[in-house]
Symmetry: C2
């Protein structure tokens, strides 16, 4: 059944932040020509991480690559999210989740931030 790509985002009470994640998911679906991409939110937005993992499992996908849509390797990425993964693995024997690094330092981030600065200069 192939692999599932799970985009993990923090989520926010501000609804527009969900739209950004949705656009990322749709872009990856198009680029990879696959439907096996889902978002999973930690807080505030739906679907939450558990829901999206359950959906993958229901589709027969037990092999998941999770990518944190986080700039920083903070406590959410290091502790909170792996804890959720641990609980999900207990629910679904055979479930494998590989957790990618967060975005971290990248020149492209600097480029985008300088563009944002220029917009208000």
């Amino acid at each position: 059944m192939g692999k599932g790509l799970l985009i993990i985002a923090h989520g926010s009470r501000v609804e527009e932040t969900k739209d950004v994640v949705t656009k990322v998911v749709e872009k990856i679906k198009n680029l990879k020509n696959t439907k096996n991409v889902k978002a999973g939110f930690m807080e505030f937005n739906e679907p939450d991480i558990s829901t999206s993992i359950r959906e993958f499992v229901e589709e027969g996908i037990y092999d998941i690559i999770a990518v944190p849509m986080f700039l920083f390797e903070g406590n959410h990425v290091l502790h909170d999210i792996p804890e959720v993964f641990g609980k999900e693995k207990e629910k679904y024997p055979g479930l494998k989740i590989k957790f990618a690094k967060s975005i971290g330092y990248d020149d492209r981030i600097v480029d985008i931030m300088l563009e944002r600065a220029k917009e208000v200069e």
Copy 2:
């Protein structure tokens, strides 16, 4: 005295996240050939936003462009940080702060995330 560029980040208990912001600040200093770039953290790390603004003012810089190193336009960006700016403007008459947009949707973010996924594939 020119403009100051203030990179606003959330901050984290995980010290490595500060290093990412420091690298961004150093990169921009080199790219722009200026010393007028500072980080300001909301929580956990130093310097905080107020400290960096005070330093700009002490250097005679009253014209600040603040760029949020945030992916999303969430409550921190929409409310908490502007509130801090409001208090700082009361302290320093003549202080001007233009607040840039957060990173938001960008194809380059998708590219980086797909690279991170590939690293664990």
